[in-house]
């Protein structure tokens, strides 16, 4: 830009000299070109650089990238670092002065987006001290990084309520449990569990305790299909927050994770007490695109003519251990038939579906024509959820539903 301005100045001055028959602007024009030629001849940048990024990063959390750079020429230069990062990443544009033969370590931050990526080295633009010329250098380094969901961020998003515990009077899935005994009221206990007769008799708050009817592990089956990953925030972002909430609520219980998509089961993490490990296993990247609002038709009646690809259902059934409680998190936009087959064939296991509603997550602007279309789709979706509820308890959730829905679930 500046070089062009100087060249334009030189041209204008030469024209001015010719028109006014004045030699002075011609001399200035000539000197400006000498200045440019001198600067271009003297600009010979040579650098040696390497960049380091932590192997494990956390979604949306600032991470430090360290650039080690050495100026091999004797002249000062300005270094501008431009990161070539995957979509969804953000990076600080570092800019600094590097003196002749100087070696420097520069730190700058990058904000990653969930997934597993191969990140190439940054592009380094070395400018002369006048900022007239620039030469680009590429740093030859490829880093494989895992960007995991950020626990801190989830905590903040979910604003975890300590009062939600699994020790409620009803077991999961709403079935009353067996009476075990009485104890003093503790902070966080459900008020509905207060035994008023015992309280009146003893003069202090007494609550009833129940034996949990169901003692199996909890498995979270997360749909990581393309539709779930679309949008900003995507349904999968929301699903991670929900999973974090469930895991927080399941304090004493063991939990496992099953990741599946359109093509089958992708990952199984056996039930563990390390809840954070489960969150860190969800490394699926976000996808750009508009969410589909097409919902599949559900047929409950069994028919001998009904054809369903059994690939996903079979792999799901084999992945879920018996006597476990499975929470499916899916938007029910793909593989619904196979999912129903899998749920119907579960042995000694109970299931529940938490379904992020694609309409509530849609990025469509609520314009006049769109509202009617969205409403029709919403009714269609409601009908589908109603049918699903006949097979398995299904909770339809939106991006703002967190604690209240979880309270209902637990």
């Amino acid at each position: 830009m500046i070089t062009r301005l100087i060249l334009v100045s030189s041209l204008i001055l030469m024209v001015q000299a010719y028109l006014l028959m004045n030699l002075f602007p011609a001399i200035i024009s000539f000197l400006l070109l000498i200045y440019l030629l001198y600067s271009s001849i003297e600009f010979n940048p040579k650098i040696l650089a390497s960049r380091k990024i932590p192997e494990k990063l956390y979604d949306g959390e600032k991470a430090k990238a360290i650039l080690e750079i050495r100026n091999l020429s004797k002249k000062d230069c300005i270094v501008k670092v431009r990161e070539k990062l995957p979509e969804g990443f953000k990076a600080e544009n570092a800019e600094f002065l590097l003196k002749g033969l100087e070696e420097k370590k520069v730190e700058y931050w990058i904000i990653p987006s969930r997934g597993v990526y191969r990140i190439k080295g940054p592009e380094i633009c070395v400018e002369d001290i006048r900022g007239l010329f620039c030469r680009r250098f590429s740093v030859d380094s490829v880093h494989e990084v895992e960007v995991l969901p950020s626990i801190e961020r989830l905590r903040e998003e979910a604003r975890t309520n300590a009062q939600i515990t699994i020790r409620s009077g009803k077991s999961l899935y709403g079935i009353p449990a067996e009476f075990e005994g009485l104890r003093k009221f503790q902070e966080g206990d459900d008020f509905r569990r207060i035994d008023w007769k015992a309280t009146a008799r003893l003069g202090e708050l007494i609550v009833r305790e129940f034996i949990r009817e169901w003692e199996g592990d909890v498995y979270i089956a997360l749909d990581t299909s393309r539709e779930m990953r679309k949008g900003k925030p995507s349904k999968i972002d929301y699903a991670i927050t929900i999973i974090y909430q469930i895991l927080t609520a399941l304090k004493e219980k063991r939990a496992g994770l099953i990741l599946y998509d359109e093509f089958g089961v992708r990952k199984i993490l056996k039930a563990t007490e390390e809840k954070e490990r489960i969150i860190r296993e969800i490394k699926v990247p976000r996808v750009h695109g508009i969410q589909s609002l097409r919902f599949p038709k559900i047929r409950i009646e069994k028919s001998i003519f009904r054809r369903i690809r059994l690939g996903l259902s079979l792999s799901l059934i084999s992945a879920i251990p018996s006597k476990s409680f499975v929470i499916f998190i899916t938007d029910l936009s793909t593989n619904v038939g196979e999912l129903i087959t899998a749920i119907q064939k579960l042995r000694d296991a109970k299931a529940l579906i938490i379904s992020p509603n694609p309409i509530l997550f849609s990025e469509l602007k609520p314009e006049r024509e769109e509202i009617l279309k969205l409403y029709r789709k919403y009714v269609e979706r409601e009908e589908m959820i109603r049918k699903m509820n006949r097979i398995v308890p299904t909770i339809d959730v939106g991006p703002r539903d967190l604690l209240s829905e979880m309270g209902a679930l637990l």
């Binding site: 060249l7 030189s10 001399i27 200035i28 070109l33 003297e42």
Partner: protein, 171 residues
Amino acid sequence: MISSVSSVIIAVALGLKAPLLAPVVFLLRFIKREVAAFSFLIYCVLLGYEFSISELDELGTAAAALAISTVLLLEESMSRRKLELDQCIIAFVMPICLLEFDLIVPLLILAVLILIWKDRAKAGILAALFGIAAIYSIMNFKGTEEIVLLASLCIFLFLSFRIVARRKGIY
């Protein structure tokens, strides 16, 4: 800084108005360097309207001082080097030229030499020497011929600059 002080001195000594804008151009670099470069273009045009020489033989102290201080102004406006002691000393000494105007050219040449020394210039010096030699060689010609010759030299310099930039892969 040196260019601004010298331009003000030239303006006072010769009764010109345009050189008084030099400090403004210099200060504009602190807002944005592109703005400074654009204001420099306007400054040069205004200078060309106000100050004129019809032949190179007339190239006296005033014209030489004004030409050198203009290039120095561009350098100081663009360079990101910090202000150093030697520059401050020259700028401090410069007002002496109000008493003895002929001293201004040696002082400005000294400032240019210090700049080239700081640059650790090597091959670039040849470009500067070529410029001086070219101007002296044109002095034998008269009027329009000088402008045409300078224009052809400018085209030559522009092409040389493009070749150097392309070969080095700079832009």
